[in-house]
């Protein structure tokens, strides 16, 4: 097989991103009778369990800027963010009717309540609120979490019509370890040579991981890494920034492009944290549920939805992202009305200030159309970073 170009690989990702009917996932399900597809919302679910049940985990990240939200708006007041309304729209227009189950992680009260709405509005799909511990002791939060994972395992086994074995789980953990390692590699590659891996491409590549089987996504990342490394692309004199706050409702692709066009290389971000939630490999020895729990408690990244028990540690992950990617500043890009991200932001800003890291902040909605103000703000930020570093 001839090596595909970056453009060809990204075209595949873009097609998956644009397809609000989830044709690829539907086809995957139809291929083998008895297969299940389980939708999940941000920020994190243990996808290994779904895979081990012979299922496809399908990230449902709202409707983006292409979906016309008509009915979804009738379910939400104007002061609630957009992702739940576009997700409802996807549901009522039948675009999610092939899902066997839908998981709602404990990220905020909006998605929490959406889990109950789903039960009422889509009774044929099994809807489950997926709780994770805010206590990180193995003998407290760990025990709770292992039991929650056990319950989810039972639900998935019922849907799949077969038990989810330890062996299958270990196999799934191996595949996802490999996938996360590749995600980290893509991020590291972009941080090293951001001109070779524009953020809109990396974003689309990561989005593909929301809808593709894990091994296929891993193969796609390998292919991209090889093609992008070989491509000759012009290097710009851009500033290097980390994006924070976009862990749930996703910014429109245009916003990501606009930030880069305005003179900022995005060298790290918090889009789709599920792709690299565990910072190191999950253990493949011993009880797999205990391994997943240990990885959650002790080895996962930080985000606003997670309690930080140590005040001194607040913002540490963001600062580590900045250091690791040699970023020169942080852009807080936050969905409007997103309580977790907006309440977290001042604490992160203080942590950045203590380390002398500059930042700016703005809000967006997944269907924001006007990019000019954002381009101007990011452009000014990029210029000021250059001035500071020159000073």
């Amino acid at each position: 097989m001839t090596m595909r170009s970056v453009a060809e690989i990204i075209a595949e990702c873009q097609a998956l991103y644009d397809d609000l009917d989830f044709t690829a996932a539907r086809a995957w399900k139809a291929e083998v009778p008895g297969r299940i597809v389980v939708g999940y919302m941000p920020f994190y679910v243990p996808r290994e369990l779904i895979h081990a049940a012979g299922g496809l985990p399908l990230g449902v990240l709202g409707g983006g800027d292409q979906l016309e939200v008509i009915q979804g708006d009738a379910y939400y007041q104007s002061y609630i963010c957009r992702i739940p309304r576009s997700t409802i729209e996807l549901g009522v227009t039948g675009r999610l009717d092939f899902l066997d189950a839908m998981l709602f992680p404990s990220i905020c009260d909006v998605i929490r309540n959406l889990s109950g709405m789903w039960k009422i509005m889509f009774p044929k799909t099994s809807a489950r609120y997926f709780d994770v511990p805010q206590n990180y002791r193995d003998d407290v939060g760990g025990v709770f979490y292992i039991n929650e994972l056990g319950e989810l395992r039972e639900i998935l086994a019922r849907l799949a019509g077969a038990p989810v074995t330890d062996a299958a789980l270990r196999g799934a953990i191996l595949l996802y370890n490999e996938n996360r390692a590749l995600v980290r590699e893509v991020y590291a590659f972009r941080a090293r040579e951001p001109w070779k891996a524009p953020s809109a491409e990396v974003y689309l590549l990561m989005r593909a991981g929301m809808v593709l089987p894990v091994a296929r996504h891993s193969a796609l990342m390998r292919e991209y890494l090889a093609a992008a490394a070989a491509a000759d692309r012009p290097r710009r004199d851009n500033s290097r920034v980390v994006i924070n706050g976009a862990f749930c409702e996703q910014p429109p692709l245009n916003l990501i492009k606009s930030i880069e066009l305005s003179g900022c290389y995005i060298v790290d971000d918090d889009f789709m944290l599920v792709n690299r939630w565990e910072r190191a490999d999950v253990a493949t020895e011993g009880d797999p549920l205990a391994a997943l729990a240990a990885a959650y408690l002790h080895g996962s990244v930080d985000t606003a939805a997670k309690y930080e028990p140590d005040r001194a540690h607040k913002g540490a992950w963001l600062i580590e992202q900045v250091r690791r990617s040699r970023a020169e500043g942080v852009i807080f890009a936050t969905p409007s009305f997103c309580d977790p991200a907006l309440l977290e932001r001042p604490m992160l800003q203080r942590a950045l200030a203590a380390h002398g890291i500059p930042c700016i902040a703005f809000k967006y909605a997944e269907n924001s159309g006007q990019m000019q103000p954002i381009r101007e703000q990011a452009g000014t930020f990029a210029d000021s970073i250059k001035l500071w570093s020159a000073a």
């Binding site: 939400y76 609630i80 709770f144 997103c338």
Partner: protein, 431 residues
């Protein structure tokens, strides 16, 4: 949760007023008296446990409410926004942060003490977690997290109870012991819980009198007075027990006299509309909002807001025989910790049991925990009961989001709609 008493003051109101100001006095002299202060939240609070350690209980939500009633929160919210808080987030948080930024002068004009411990009982709302992380950022004091899982499937599981109990044993109690120097005595906790349960019996009796016609109480505007002691720093005290005994006797007298609810304008003359209300009230225009109801003869016979600190009317009682498990069950069972289908079932039950004419939703901008999903609640209740539902929007303590003319118009057309429905007209919606 305890507004200044209406013009007509019953002895229960005077007693509550004294209890509240007594608690503020104790807070204000905490340092001089050598007493430690624990800040915590209303839903899922652990008052009986906190009392076992002789520490004082400061409730930032109550401070925000009291400041809202005194119209101080507008300035505090703007102060917090000036200092970097977003205009989009919960105004309780901003009212608290703004008050602290402006010198931490409490609702009664005295300086509030810095907390020695933030007891983050995380029941029914994610914002609580961010709120106390922000306070911890400011005070640098110790925080004890009590993570209360959500009833995603509408039930409390053994795993949830065990998790909460383990946190009480391993996290909360050791921190309270260390802070106070008082060793935990489970028998003391049992005594407190027994007092709670007795008060809870009287409280439920009072709430259920709204099933009568006319209802002797308003279960929302009046209800926020009645929940005061049991939702806050007094559950488990002898004072709270006395308060509910007194209140019960007063309501019994009103029933005997065939009276309706007491309002700021005196006794309500005639009951014309019986409503169930979902959502918290607005505090900055509390009196004006109430007036829009009693002037038109609308009585709230049941409300969900009076269940944020526990669903005692559904049978829950604090249980001295199982002290820690009972606290866990209490935290897990609060209204906003129930999933949406369970909330809708409860409202439907109220509509039927209290023979309501309709449901009114006061949708609060600040509060995603309550508000996200309320439009589905409205549809479902209309569908299930055939009764009209209406929707108004306001905020808790941000005066910028209370629009009296809009709300009044909406309510008036809603009352007309109820009249039409009674006269047999086809269903329509006011919202």
């Amino acid at each position: 949760m305890s507004p200044p008493a209406p013009v007509v003051k019953d002895s229960s109101m005077l007693k509550q007023k004294e209890m509240i100001s007594g608690n503020y006095r104790r807070l204000e002299t905490a340092a001089a008296d050598g007493r430690k202060v624990v800040s915590t939240f209303v839903p899922g609070n652990l008052n009986e446990l906190i009392m076992c350690f002789d520490v004082l209980n400061n409730l930032p939500e109550i401070n925000a409410i009291q400041n809202g009633l005194r119209k101080k929160t507008g300035g505090y919210i703007m102060e917090a926004e000036k200092r970097g808080q977003s205009e989009d987030v919960c105004t309780y948080v901003k009212a608290d942060l703004g008050m602290i930024a402006k010198g931490n002068i409490g609702p009664d004009g005295q300086k509030l003490p810095d907390p020695d411990l933030l007891l983050l009982s995380y029941t029914g709302c994610f914002t609580f977690m961010k709120w106390f992380e922000l306070l911890r950022d400011h005070y640098g004091c110790e925080t004890a997290m009590l993570h209360v899982p959500y009833q995603g499937d509408g039930r409390i599981t053994a795993n949830m109870i065990a998790y909460v109990v383990r946190q009480l044993r391993e996290e909360v109690i050791p921190k309270l012991e260390r802070l106070s120097g008082v060793k935990f005595d489970i028998d003391r906790l049992r005594e407190n819980l027994a007092r709670s349960a007795r008060a809870e019996d009287d409280f439920v009796w009072v709430l259920e009198t709204a099933k009568l016609r006319p209802s002797p109480i308003d279960a929302y505007f009046g209800g926020v007075y009645y929940i005061g002691p049991i939702f806050t720093a007094f559950r488990g005290t002898a004072d709270a027990e006395d308060y509910y005994r007194l209140l019960r006797a007063e309501i019994a007298e009103r029933i005997a006299a065939g009276q309706g609810p007491v309002t700021p304008a005196g006794d309500m003359p005639a009951e014309r509309y019986r409503l169930v209300v979902e959502g918290p009230p607005n505090w900055t225009s509390f009196r004006d909002f109430w007036k829009m109801f009693y002037e038109d003869g609308a009585v709230v016979v049941a409300s969900t807001y009076t269940k944020v600190g526990g669903l005692y009317d559904q049978g829950f009682r604090h249980d001295p025989a199982h002290p820690l498990e009972s606290l866990a069950e209490y935290c897990l069972g609060c209204y906003t910790n129930r999933n949406l289908p369970a909330r809708i079932d409860l409202i439907e039950q109220y509509m039927n049991d209290y023979q309501a004419d309709g449901l009114l939703i006061n949708s609060i901008k600040s509060c995603n925990s309550f508000s996200a999903g309320q439009l589905l609640v409205l549809r479902e209740i209309e569908r299930r009961t055939g009764k009209p539902a209406a929707f108004v929007e306001s905020d808790l303590v941000d005066p910028r989001y209370f629009s009296p003319a809009n709300i009044k118009n909406r309510l008036e057309s809603y009352f007309q709609m109820i009249e039409q429905r009674r006269a047999g007209a086809a269903p329509a919606r006011a919202a």
